[in-house]
């Protein structure tokens, strides 16, 4: 099941949310990353999810799939942020870690 785009998109948006400074109360929730680093990591992960999407869905569906799955990841992130902000931001690392074996194994 090609879910790595979704997971990488979630990780990217979680980092961008951290970098946006909006969830001030949870500013330290993302381990290891300060806002400026979170922004760079967010953009890099977004690009990575785009590459993964083209890799998995092919040339003609890649962009469509990336936009759709990243939007879904965003909805999930915002819903989680509204209730469990710390957990929502911290989830970026497991999401990214899970994306790698999914991509490699092709699950």
């Amino acid at each position: 099941m090609p879910l790595e785009t979704l997971l990488l998109g979630y990780a990217a948006l979680a980092n961008l949310a951290r970098a946006s400074g909006r969830p001030q109360r949870v500013a330290d929730a993302i381990p290891l990353l300060r806002p400026v680093h979170a922004k760079i990591a967010g953009i890099a992960l977004a690009l990575l999810s785009l590459v993964a999407s083209f890799w998995r869905f092919g040339a003609y569906q890649g962009l469509v799939a990336w936009l759709g799955l990243t939007s879904l990841a965003g909805v999930a992130l915002v819903l989680l942020l509204s209730r469990w902000p710390v957990a929502a931001l911290r989830l970026w690392l497991p999401a990214m870690a899970l994306a790698v074996p999914i991509d490699l194994v092709g699950f």
Partner: protein, 528 residues
Amino acid sequence: MKARAGLRQPMAWIHSWLGLVAGWILFAMFLTGTASYFRPEITRWMQPELRTEAAAPAEAARSAIAWLQANAPHDEQWYIYLPDDRTTATRIFTRPRPDSMTPAKRRREEIRLDPATGEALEARDTRGGEQFYRFHFQLQLPHPWGRWLAGLCAMFMLGAIVSGVVTHKRIFVDFFTLRWGKGQRSWLDAHNVTAVLALPFHAMITYTGLITLVLMYMPWPIAANYAKPATFAVEAYGNDPEGAASGRPARLVPIAPLIAAATEEWKGGRPSTLIVRNPDDAASSVTILRDGTDALNARGGSITYAGADGRRLAASPPPGPAIETAGVMLGLHMGNYAGPVLRWTYFLLGLTGSAMVATGLLLWTAKRRKPGATPFFGFRVVERMNIGALACLPAGMAAFFLANRLIPAAQPGRSGLEVSAMFWMWFGLAVLSLLRPVRRAWIETLAVAAVAFASVPVVNALTTDRGLIRSIASGDGLFVAFDLVMLSVAACLGFAAWRAAHIAPVAPRQRRHAGPPASAGKELADAA
């Protein structure tokens, strides 16, 4: 900067009123359109008697032609819709030769066949997923009024999207903001989040929806350039040879080699439909249409062969840029190309779109509600319409599924009764809600909708042998998924009813310089 601020207020006014005027119809279009991403699956669920397995196209075509040769050998045309991964039965219908007794172009009733054995399948009469699909752009109105109204609402939606983007001052700052339990502020957050996060989807689905019927909405370019619209169709899509019968009887060549030849010419593309003309005649022809699910372009090509000897007669021309673009837009809108993951993505983003329209409608009332003051007439109308659309339509959709299981399978005219059940539930509940105070009406209609959806798996288990437990045991993924979706929708609606019952009214924010109440545009811009 000042010019942009000046632009923002009229845009906010446009956004507010376009969204309100078309909102209820747009919600219905979004919700039923979202459901129709699973149109074949809904139809299969609504005919639980059918347990066919998918078969190869050539095998299904062979068995269908054998059935037609035995049962309708002298009809003028045969239409054969081959099964695929999502539709496991072969669908066929025929057109008889026009004579003094039979009006021209009348089609016989559609029949479903087992693709492996070619036996006619008996199943309950239902419109299935087709009901939601047709409703979402025809609105159950006579042709062409439903399509015109749907198109008008889609144009309003496009205008609302553009004006909403211009209006939204802090589009990136508010990207991740959703605050619960803060009254109007929460509705604005929810509206922003559902709109902005899925903005590419909303813009795409609205624009491509309009383009799908663009020739109907803007027929003048064709009228100005072609004496007959049919000439345009031939030029754009190719000429499908429709020769007359020769009067000399002949049998069709085996179909499998023709399908193999077409598949090879399409470099592996699957056939989806066969059209056989004059099947018992020496001048017979077999047109094979390509399945559009393996490309973004929903319009696959076609190849026509002589039925008597298998010669290749013609093929549709390669599409030009405009036709290709239109085909891709249609494909993007319908999502037929999408595999399971992308189809679920379409479905969930469609629900997000429905939520965007719903929260926009609720925001309109939240902004104008004044505790202690007598609401003005328009406000009360909008409140009641919101209940009728947002809570009662889902109840109607659940009633459609329940009617499918509760109306006897052999009842004549049962497919029409199912549709009637949907509308009686929808509008009946909306009328009944008028008898209750607004707050109670919200709670009760949402609760009824939740109970109705929760009942679907229960009634399914009681009236068929494909209940949730048995489906899990037999590995029937479609029936398991359907029941789980019904329960999930019931949980969401139940949660909404619970929130409506327990949420404390939030006093509106005090403004130091409150503007006149009619300046809706300014309020929206301020809030944004």
